[in-house]
């Protein structure tokens, strides 16, 4: 029996004793009826109490939701059954009839019926539509504790303290009530009355089976949702399983374990499990098929009274002494992990599968983990190692364990893992390609293990560590209850710590720079150095998260997919109707796993967060693109933009003039503001605009605003400051018209018009002031006239001391003509782009880019394919051959003194790998690579009679050079020399062999083609070098199989033939220029001969055609028509390019008229012969000849003992054991 560690509590309430529970079938609601007479309606997802219903008198024991209607029913110790509407939140009616406490009430799944069980020993069926009692079932002779309808058939099962369980057949009742409905009201009444008479000896409900087996009272009984099974719980502490057929019912088995009264039992709606609850404070889970205990959850102090299951989802609820708890039996989060474009996940059947994000296809089952952990516990986490293609799976079974398994290359059904390494641990994750970390929470240790499951180091994590996650290279993220630690594995210490509560999951961004720490209600984004970037709170539980490539975190709550940017700006992407676990975002697709562990693709609109991201990153092109392509509107985005200080961008989205005006003012876009102000024409707006314009220095707009507002004073002053005298004087006129003297005075003052002022003063009878003004400005005439008008003399006046006359300042700059340079226009790049001013932002060129991208892809793919083929062609079979062939060939003994240079000065030194190569192989090339040139030469001498090694020097050094790498090791010392092998997989020192540069395949695809090219392009000197190079390279080489030996031989022959051919033609050209040759009959003869011999070597047909054409033309020129004819015939026989054929035909026609040779040459077109490579003369078949043991070139016997003219290495006529390329 296990501890209650696996309990996944989703909700708990505190209240008095809970006696009845019912799940709402659709909404996250639960009804709880309490011993205290209250019925509570909870939202268990949000954890909030929605409502309370308090009309019962005394404890309420039974409660049930209607499946479809907004109704519920309750039954209590007040003998009453009440039917409620949770919409109107009141009791609709009460059904009276029971004579004692009511224990349970249940709705029928389709008929408008309620079944109730009561201490009055009866079970009653009610019709809640016409609120009548349909049937009373008697038979129990003690309290009826529980009665339930069968979910499909016309059956009721009941439990009673009389120790029996009864199954009732109510098909009669259904027949009676589903009769044709064309009944009059009277009929119905009589029918209803008839029911009453049926009460005794009725046939509506008859006992079908009486199940006896409990030896105490039975508290609860329930049908299986699909199978003919019944489970019951009794005071005898037993859970009994019953089976029934059409005719009988019997006890199947008993689950023993409760050590106090068992109060409730039910079948798991989807799995073969039984759950039971009892007064021993435990909830127990049993295997339905084996009737063995699977799990048990114990509460410290509370006895359990009732247990209920959600009909659809994997949720259960249990009522106890102090409230209810809603819980899950197992985690529904499928274990999964993402690597690049592949999702690995474990299905409900415990199969490992993968999902390709690019092709959107699910793989077949890669592996079956049936044997992992206990059968009822799904794996918890999955970690993938791409280098080894292995997975780490953890499960909570057996106190937590992990398993390291290699995935097969391709899925071929449910294979059991062939070999796996396992151990105890609560979390296990890969931390490097060859290391994984295992956390053991009970012992509080973290072990770092290598791939063979050996602990390489071990340390104590911070106290209370509950989980570990990958923390970037060499680091772990250690999750403790109130903090997250970044732990350096090498240093064995915490390098950073962040206090975050209750982190459950860590999700790394794709670039590895950020991680999201998910706890129940919070998302905290941190950098890879564990510095907090932002955090946000959700009231709904956060389930999962994944990063967009651009650095936006998408996360899912129970009912939403949301996003958050690094700066914490967040919002809703879409709603969810079922909980999912996000694994990947790609464009508009969000990939996720649902609770059934099926990959799903949700379509989302990423516009909003992309836009916000672009805004934050100031990526205006992207924003522009989004604006032009998507319908991005709405108050939220505008207020967001405004809040974030981007009014100018918000401006682009708004149509409403008021908002536009506000935004324009905010971003200083006066043009728009003016436009909007004109549209709206409200004084308040004008005044705000004027202030804004003034601060910009845009006085023409200010002027307009003042005009609109009729603010004459301000206008005047504006004109004064801008020096616009004409307008100022017009203002004066206006003031005069308006009769506003103050304004008039002011304007006159601004204009410096003294007369006007005096005139005005006079008009308003302010003579003293008029006089003063006149006096002050020295207008004595005016003074006099005023004095006269007032009848005063100058003496009578006492004047204050006067200063200099006031004159208005002179105009310096005609500011009024144009605006000052205004405040820097805030027209952003973005606006310019919108106005089409920025080039290269047009959207048309995108498809082009896309197609060109495709094209590139194709090429890349082809390339890759080509390479793959290349790789395939490379054989890897030479390992098994290395050992046995040693004695087969003449392998010269390694001369110790020379090879072991180091052994002289270092006593303890061993022989280097290079020496091993020489020992391991009879091939010359391996001796060369090992630096054992002498033995290599010996070998070549014996194999092919090589005597002149000078041409091979480059190849020797090439091979030798390729054999060693230089690994920088300890500082201050020379680099460590390592020996490069062609046997990469081999580690047995007796089988290792060196790498060979320019292997056969390389030669065939590179050098040989170059040789052909030089033939085609008539660069024969180069060609000769190339073909000789090929010969050297093949001579010092190794191949992987016998068939390759044949290929190598072909290559040698071909290269040799070309070398001979080219040498012949080059020899001909060396004879001299055409003139010289033509003058000298000897040379002419030789020239014609050589040109004819040039056609003999077995070179490729197109190349032979060149030789033939050449020979034919030369023969024609020298009037050797007969020979030319033979060449023409050969050309025609070979076929090929039509131009060549045309020439040949013409020549042929010409020659046939006169088939005679004017120069006699040694060339018998009908004889079979080969060319001596040294003398370039024919060796007729039948005559003796010598050849080169390596390249097979032929020689007249007189050349025996000389160095082969073709390869320049071997002695002609010296027969060795043959070239060895494969051991």
């Amino acid at each position: 029996m296990q501890a209650s560690s696996g309990m996944l509590t989703k909700f708990e309430s505190k209240s008095s004793r809970a006696k009845g529970i019912a799940f709402h079938p659709k909404r996250p609601w639960i009804l709880v009826s309490l011993h205290s007479s209250t019925i509570q309606l909870w939202d268990y997802r949000m954890g909030t109490l929605i409502d309370r219903f308090e009309e019962h008198d005394g404890p309420v024991r039974g409660v049930d939701f209607h499946k479809t209607q907004p109704l519920f029913v309750s039954g209590g110790d007040d003998y009453k059954i009440k039917v409620w509407s949770y919409q109107t939140r009141r009791c609709l009616f009460t059904l009276n009839g029971h004579l004692d406490y009511i224990r349970t009430v249940f709705f029928h799944h389709e008929l408008p019926w309620i079944v109730s069980a009561s201490d009055d020993q009866t079970i009653r069926i009610w019709n809640w539509q016409n609120r009548s009692l349909l049937c009373t079932m008697t038979g129990h002779n003690h309290y009826a504790m529980c009665a339930q309808f069968h979910p499909k058939e016309d059956l009721v099962v009941s439990a009673s303290l009389d120790q029996s369980v009864r199954v009732w057949d109510i098909s009669g009742l259904r027949k009676k009530h589903s009769a044709p409905t064309s009944m009059s009201f009277e009929d119905q009444v009589s029918r209803a009355n008839a029911n009453q008479t049926d009460m005794f000896g009725n046939t509506d409900a008859v006992v079908k089976f009486v199940l006896e087996g409990h030896d105490r009272g039975v508290n609860w009984v329930a049908f299986h949702p699909t199978m003919p099974l019944i489970v019951s719980a009794g005071d005898d502490r037993l859970i009994k399983l019953w089976r029934m057929s059409e005719t009988k019912a019997w006890e199947v088995d008993t689950c023993r374990g409760h050590f106090q009264n068992a109060n409730g039992a039910l079948f798991h709606p989807h799995q073969d499990l039984i759950l039971s609850a009892g007064e021993d404070k435990t909830i127990r889970v049993w295997d339905l098929n084996k009737r063995t205990a699977v799990n048990s959850f114990k509460r410290e102090n509370d006895r359990f009274w009732v247990i209920a299951a959600h009909p659809e989802i994997n949720l259960f609820a249990a009522g106890h002494d102090n409230g209810v708890m809603v819980f899950k039996l197992e985690r529904e989060r499928p274990a999964s992990t993402v690597f690049q474009n592949t999702l690995f996940y474990i299905t409900k059947e415990k199969h490992v599968r993968s999902y390709d994000f690019q092709k959107n296809v699910e793989s077949p089952t890669l592996l079956s983990l049936k044997k992992l952990g206990s059968s009822w516990v799904p794996p918890r986490t999955l970690s993938y190692n791409p280098a080894e293609r292995s997975i780490l799976v953890t499960t909570t079974a057996d106190g937590g364990s992990y398993e390291l398994i290699n995935l097969p290359r391709d899925g071929s059904g449910a294979i059991e893992p062939t070999e796996s390494k396992r151990g105890q641990g609560n979390s296990a994750i890969f931390v490097a390609r060859n290391r994984f970390a295992v956390l053991n929470t009970t012992s509080q240790t973290v072990d770092i293990k290598d791939l063979t499951n050996n602990t390489t180091r071990s340390f104590k994590p911070p106290i209370g560590t509950s989980d570990i996650y990958f923390g970037g290279t060499g680091n772990l993220l250690i999750i403790a209850p109130t903090a997250v630690h970044l732990y350096d594995i090498q240093q064995k210490k915490t390098t950073a710590e962040l206090s975050v509560n209750g982190v459950k999951y860590v999700v790394w961004s794709n670039d590895g720079l950020y991680a999201a720490l998910l706890s129940k209600h919070n998302v905290t984004i941190v950098t890879k150095a564990l510095e907090q970037v932002s955090t946000l709170h959700e009231t709904i539980r956060i389930k999962s998260a994944t990063w967009d490539d651009a650095g936006v975190l998408l996360y899912s709550t129970l009912n939403h997919v949301k996003y958050t940017l690094l700066n914490g700006d967040n919002g809703i992407v879409r709603t969810l109707d079922q909980t999912v676990y996000l694994v990947r975002v790609k464009g508009r697709s969000v990939y996720c796993l649902d609770r059934a562990s099926k990959p799903k693709i949700l379509q989302v609109d990423p516009t909003e967060y992309r836009f916000k991201l672009a805004l934050v990153k100031r990526n205006y092109e992207e924003m522009l693109h989004i604006i032009q392509n998507s319908s991005l509107v709405g108050q939220s985005i505008i207020s967001y933009l405004q809040k974030k200080g981007y009014p100018e961008i918000a401006l682009q989205f708004v149509q409403d003039p008021t908002t536009r005006f506000e935004l324009a003012i905010e971003c200083g876009n006066l043009e728009v503001a003016v436009e909007m102000a004109k549209q709206l024409d409200r004084p308040k707006l004008w005044s705000r605009l004027s202030t804004e314009a003034l601060s910009h220095g845009n006085h023409s707009i200010v002027e307009m605003c003042y005009q609109k507002q009729k603010q004459f004073d301000k206008l005047s002053f504006l004109y004064l400051t801008t020096g616009d005298e004409s307008k100022l004087s017009r203002m004066a006129k206006i003031a005069e018209h308006r009769g506003d003297f103050t304004s008039r005075f002011q304007n006159a003052l601004y204009l410096g018009e003294v007369e006007d002022r005096i005139q005005m003063f006079k008009e308003i009878d302010l003579y003293p002031l008029a006089y003063m003004t006149a006096k002050f400005n020295g207008l004595e005439d005016e003074c006099q006239s005023i004095l006269e008008a007032t009848g005063l003399t100058e003496d009578q006046l006492s004047l204050p001391k006067l200063g200099a006359p006031l004159t208005p300042p002179k105009l310096v700059v005609p500011t009024y003509k144009a605006n000052w340079p205004t405040k820097a226009t805030s027209q952003s790049f973005f606006e310019k782009a919108l106005l089409g001013q920025v080039e290269g932002l047009s959207l048309d060129d995108e498809p082009n880019a896309a197609t060109s991208g495709l094209g590139l892809d194709d090429v890349a793919e082809d390339d890759a394919a080509g390479k793959r083929n290349g790789a395939l062609a490379e054989p890897e079979e030479d390992e098994d051959a290395a050992g046995w062939d040693l004695g087969d060939d003449v392998v010269p003994e390694v001369e110790e003194g020379f090879v072991n240079v180091e052994s002289a000065d270092a006593g303890g030194a061993g022989s280097s790998e290079a020496d091993l190569w020489a020992r391991n192989s009879p091939l010359a090339v391996d001796h060369v690579a090992g630096g054992s040139f002498e033995t290599a030469m010996q070998l070549l001498n014996r194999q092919v009679g090589a005597v002149n090694f000078t041409p091979l020097k480059a190849r020797f050094l090439e091979v030798y050079q390729a054999s060693k790498t230089y690994l920088p090791a300890s500082a201050g010392l020379l680099a460590l020399v390592n020996y490069v092998r062609r046997t990469v997989e081999e580690s047995d020192p007796r089988k290792v062999l060196p790498i060979i540069p320019r292997d056969l395949e390389y030669l065939a695809t590179n050098d040989l083609q170059r040789g052909y090219d030089s033939m085609k392009t008539n660069k024969l000197e180069d060609g000769l070098e190339v073909f000789k190079g090929i010969l050297y390279a093949v001579l010092i080489n190794a191949v992987g199989s016998e068939s390759e030996v044949t290929e190598a031989k072909k290559l040698i022959t071909s290269a040799s033939e070309y070398a001979v051919a080219m040498a012949i033609e080059l020899g001909r050209r060396k004879l001299g220029t055409t003139d010289v040759i033509n003058k000298n009959p000897q040379l002419l003869k030789r020239s014609l001969e050589l040109s004819a011999y040039f056609t003999i070597p077995k070179i490729q047909v197109p190349h032979r055609q060149i030789a033939l054409l050449n020979a034919m033309n030369l023969a024609m020129r020298s009037k050797n028509y007969n020979t030319a004819l033979s060449f023409a015939n050969r050309i025609l026989a070979n076929g090929g390019a039509s131009k060549t054929l045309e020439t040949a035909k013409k020549t042929k026609a010409q020659c046939e008229r006169n088939p005679h040779d004017s120069v006699e040459i040694e060339f018998d077109q009908f004889a079979e012969f080969e060319i001596c490579a040294a003398s370039h003369t024919p060796i007729y078949s039948g005559t003796a000849f010598e050849e080169c043991a390596f390249d097979g070139s032929k020689y007249h016997t007189k050349f025996k003992g000389t160095v082969c003219a073709v390869c320049g290495v071997c002695e002609v006529g010296k027969h060795g054991s043959g070239l060895k390329l494969f051991a």
Binding site: I489, Q490, A906, T965, L967, G972, N978, V984, E986
Partner: protein, 294 residues
């Protein structure tokens, strides 16, 4: 407590040094270190400077210092300047006078080995008491002597007490590159992890990664890594040498690389070795000739 152990405060300095991040070692702020670690830190920084080619400055720095550690550094600097005789003299003296000093072991051991006196170096180094640097040196010396078996033994022994420390991993990888087979891949992991993490990447680790890749037959990847390394430090002779080897293997022209290697380090083993082999070839070739001259 060993100041270089995982818990010690010198671990970062130590790791930087052995990851080949010499400049980081020199730039390391040692002011905050506890007094007893000041000397080891200084020694490490001096060694880093030697590795960076500032042997003369270092020699001037430690002139007249009496601590055996600093004398050992002086020996190292002398050796780096090419004054092998003086270095050897100092090293031999220190090996006799302070053979238990870890720094002396490491540095004098290095000098002795560099002078070809492997046996003396091993004799000195074998006296170490949990000195990982000594272990690494011993491993390297054994490898240079082609005693892979002894090197492997040393690593396995060290792994027992030093767990997963950087030097043990490195030394194991060195051995792995000799053993081959699966060990190539494991060595590759170690080097790659160092080379690809920005915090630990250095030219040396990149070259090491490339070498492992080359041995694994992944020539394209090796090429990329070597080019990366040369971008970081164009005059890193081993990188040029390895690139040269790679070019030979892939059949490319090597003239340019050979000349640049000659420019950077005319005494590089690849060149000296090649010259030696070239002579050997000429000598060996004279033993053969055709019966009849053409």
């Amino acid at each position: 407590m060993d100041p270089f152990s995982a818990e010690g405060e010198l671990i970062n300095l130590h790791n930087h040094f052995h990851q080949g991040q010499y400049q980081d070692v020199v730039d390391f702020d040692t002011a905050a270190l506890s007094p007893e670690n000041a000397l080891p830190a200084r020694v490490l920084q001096l060694r880093a400077r030697v590795a960076l080619g500032q042997a003369d400055d270092v020699l001037a720095d430690v002139q007249g210092e009496a601590e055996p550690e600093l004398e050992a550094v002086a020996a190292l600097a002398e050796q780096a300047r090419g004054d092998a005789a003086a270095a050897l003299k100092t090293a031999s003296r220190l090996a006799a006078s302070a053979p238990a000093n870890a720094t002396v072991q490491t540095l004098a051991g290095t000098v002795l080995q560099a002078a070809g006196r492997s046996e003396d170096a091993l004799a000195l180094l074998s006296q170490h008491q949990g000195n990982l640097e000594a272990v690494a040196l011993i491993v390297q010396i054994h490898l240079q002597q082609n005693r892979t078996d002894l090197a492997l033994k040393e690593v396995v022994a060290a792994r027992r007490w030093a767990q997963d420390s950087l030097l043990v991993n490195l030394a194991e990888s060195w051995v792995g590159l000799r053993l081959g087979g699966e060990k190539y891949q494991q060595a590759f992991y170690v080097f790659e992890e160092l080379a690809q993490a920005p915090a630990t990447s250095s030219v040396r680790s990149l070259v090491s990664q490339a070498v492992a890749e080359l041995h694994l037959g992944r020539t394209e990847e090796a090429q990329v890594a070597l080019e990366q390394a040369l971008k970081k430090e164009p005059a890193f002779a081993d990188a040029i040498a390895d690139l040269l080897v790679l070019s030979v293997i892939t059949g490319k022209d090597t003239k340019e690389l050979t000349s640049s290697l000659e420019k950077v380090d005319a005494q590089h083993p690849l060149l000296t070795d090649l010259a030696e082999k070239s002579d050997l070839f000429d000598k060996a070739a004279t033993k053969y000739k055709a019966k009849v001259a053409a």
